[in-house]
């Protein structure tokens, strides 16, 4: 399983993030998005930001999760390197409870490759596939506007 794969797109950034669970796919999608902007290895997991999201579909949950990370990045001026989520399906939809860990941006140590403006819904997908040995793999496909 390739956890994060960046695909060719002329003007924007497209990636697939995978996980052996839904949670892991969401976490890797967060990492893939941040990784499009900055090398996560340069970001220390010093502070924690909690995230709570409810959505009426799994797709909307993923969209809101990624959009929330971008929002926090911009208003907190923080970069992130660790993502942890728990996801539950309830009666009215889906619920995510997560923690994002990182640190405030330090221009001396943090160099940005690009700025992600937003998460698009173009070719947006989250799906479960059967893998070898009876496992299942969740894949999130996302195009970012940069």
């Amino acid at each position: 399983m390739k956890a994060i794969e960046y695909l060719e797109h002329t003007a924007d950034v497209k990636f697939r993030a995978r996980g052996r669970s839904l949670e892991e796919a969401f976490e890797n999608a967060g990492l893939a998005m941040l990784g499009a902007m900055i090398d996560p290895a340069t970001v220390r997991a010093e502070e924690t930001w909690p995230v709570e999201i409810e959505a009426d579909s799994l797709e909307a949950l993923l969209y809101d999760w990624l959009s929330e990370i971008l929002y926090l990045f911009e208003v907190e001026l923080a970069a992130f390197s660790k993502f942890e989520v728990e996801i539950e399906e309830g009666e009215g939809g889906w619920r995510l409870s997560g923690r994002i860990r990182g640190e405030r941006v330090d221009p001396e140590r943090h160099f940005f490759d690009t700025e992600v403006k937003a998460v698009t819904l173009h070719q947006f997908e989250i799906k479960k596939e059967a893998a070898d040995g009876g496992d299942e793999i969740w894949t999130a496909q996302v195009v970012l506007d940069v």
Binding site: E8, T10, M37, V75, P107, D113, T114, K117, T120, L121
Partner: protein
């Protein structure tokens, strides 16, 4: 699979994709068409499936792969039965460009260019997550959302003449701050007066060629003159507004039973609350962007005045290239009110339109087309061809041909900077890394793109400007 209609005009036939309501039209030369990805043509076809689309789903000669609409996409919808879609506007609502002309000439300004760029880089905040020098109140933020550049001028950033030389006179009616979320406000408040990053820039240029003496004189441009170009948009406020409303419109698609080939084309029928609210929020973001460019212009003037005591910088024009607007156009001989979406396309109204400032009305509007970093930009004049062929629209730039990932593999930021420096172009950026993906070679040559709109009389070439110094995020 494309049919040639005429020189520089190709048709995407109805059969290209299931559900197309109109054919597609791509205004492009054979040479440029060869560089267009098949996905871009599919995106033109996708837009053609939207309800109420009029005549054609169009793409300009700088067309390339986007999300939802292609970049360079133009589509108009009937008020009755049509839709509005954030996929046709984009996240950077009213990303646009303005040009200021100075009363300086290259020979006098040359020794100062380096210092001017340093000061512009310092005085106009740029870069990822940059915060502005301003601390606006909640009330002032509302004013920016409703009255855009008009508010900025009243607040001391510029002169009333600036507004006359701005598309929409600096703001669109109908901006609804109550449709702007708390998140969008929190992102927007500290960023008013910032350039951003990516392809956004602030550039000092020199007019190096005049194509039409008469019109150039009327636009106040002559050879050797120093000009300044500002390219930026609505920053985090616009990105968040689009993000928020995209979700609402995705639900509207199910509610109103619209079938879409691409989820980013989420839309709502005109006249529904979802459509009205998106329009109000989009207009608020557009106004924020006009206020942003106006504030940056004021700081640019301050920098020039520090170097040249009596420097005078007048706005030539300001154009939006990511926006949806209600406009009147002739459809098969009858004037109709349409909602025109331009996604990476510039309005290019021909002579006589009342939307054009009086000073230019008999000529057509100035159309400002930025090149990529280090390549020429153009000033054109909107022509009759635009009114006949493209709902008054032209291309918006050079158009990417290479992905950012690919660009970074081939070019290093420092090398790009050095190469430009050897050509006498001074570049300031927050970090050289950001320069690699904007290397001049990743874009189509701007002169070829401009040639197509000139040949079709969409917009005629007036002047060419070349960069002397660039400040980037």
């Amino acid at each position: 699979m494309l049919n040639r209609v005429d020189d520089n005009i190709f048709e995407v036939p109805m059969g290209h994709q299931k559900g197309m309501r109109v054919p597609g039209r791509i205004f492009i030369s054979d040479k440029l068409l060869a560089q267009v990805e098949p996905g871009t043509i599919d995106q033109v076809a996708n837009v053609a499936t939207l309800p109420g689309i009029v005549k054609y789903s169009m793409a300009m000669p700088d067309a390339h792969l986007g999300y939802g609409f292609p970049i360079g996409g133009v589509a108009a919808f009937r008020e009755d039965g049509g839709v509005i879609s954030p996929g046709g506007v984009g996240f950077d609502i009213n990303c646009g460009v303005r040009m200021l002309r100075t009363d300086l000439f290259a020979k006098d300004a040359a020794p100062m260019i380096s210092s001017l760029v340093d000061d512009l880089f310092h005085d106009v905040p740029s870069g990822v997550g940059a915060k502005g020098r301003l601390r606006v109140s909640e009330h002032e933020l509302d004013e920016a959302f409703t009255r855009g550049a008009a508010w900025a001028v009243e607040a001391g950033y510029g002169v009333p003449e600036d507004l006359e030389h701005c598309e929409e006179n600096g703001f669109m009616e109908g901006g609804k701050p109550d449709q702007v979320s708390l998140k969008a406000r929190k992102r927007g408040r500290p960023q008013l007066g910032t350039l951003g990053s990516g392809n956004h820039f602030l550039e000092i240029q020199k007019v190096d060629r005049i194509f039409d003496e008469g019109i150039a004189r009327r636009f106040g441009l002559s050879e050797g003159q120093i000009t300044v170009m500002i390219h930026c948009g609505s920053r985090g406020a616009g990105h968040q507004i689009c993000t928020d409303h995209l979700q609402v419109l995705s639900r509207a698609v199910r509610k109103y039973g619209i079938e879409l080939p691409d989820k980013q084309l989420a839309c709502a029928p005109l006249g529904t609350p979802e459509a009205d609210n998106y329009f109000g929020a989009m207009a608020a973001a557009a106004n924020y962007a006009w206020a942003n460019r106006q504030i940056i212009s004021a700081w640019t003037r301050e920098v020039f005045e520090r170097h040249f005591a009596d420097a005078k910088l007048d706005l030539v024009y300001d154009v939006a290239h990511n926006v949806a607007k209600v406009e009147e156009h002739s459809v098969d001989g009858t004037m109709e009110r349409l909602v025109v979406h331009r996604k990476g396309a510039t309005r290019a109204f021909g002579p006589g339109r009342r939307e054009i400032p009086e000073a230019y009305r008999d000529l057509g509007q100035p159309v400002i087309i930025p090149g990529s970093m280090g390549t020429p930009s153009y000033v054109l004049c909107g022509g009759e061809g635009a009114m006949r062929l493209t709902f008054g629209s032209a291309c918006h730039g050079a158009g990417r041909i290479m992905s950012r990932t690919q660009a970074k593999k081939i070019y290093g930021g420092s090398e790009v900077k050095e190469a430009l420096s050897r050509r006498g172009i001074k570049v300031m950026a927050t970090h050289p890394k950001m320069l690699a993906e904007e290397a001049p070679e990743v874009y189509k040559p701007s002169d070829e793109v401009v040639e197509v709109v000139d040949q079709l009389d969409i917009a005629r070439k007036v002047a060419r400007v070349v960069p002397l110094g660039v400040s980037k995020g």
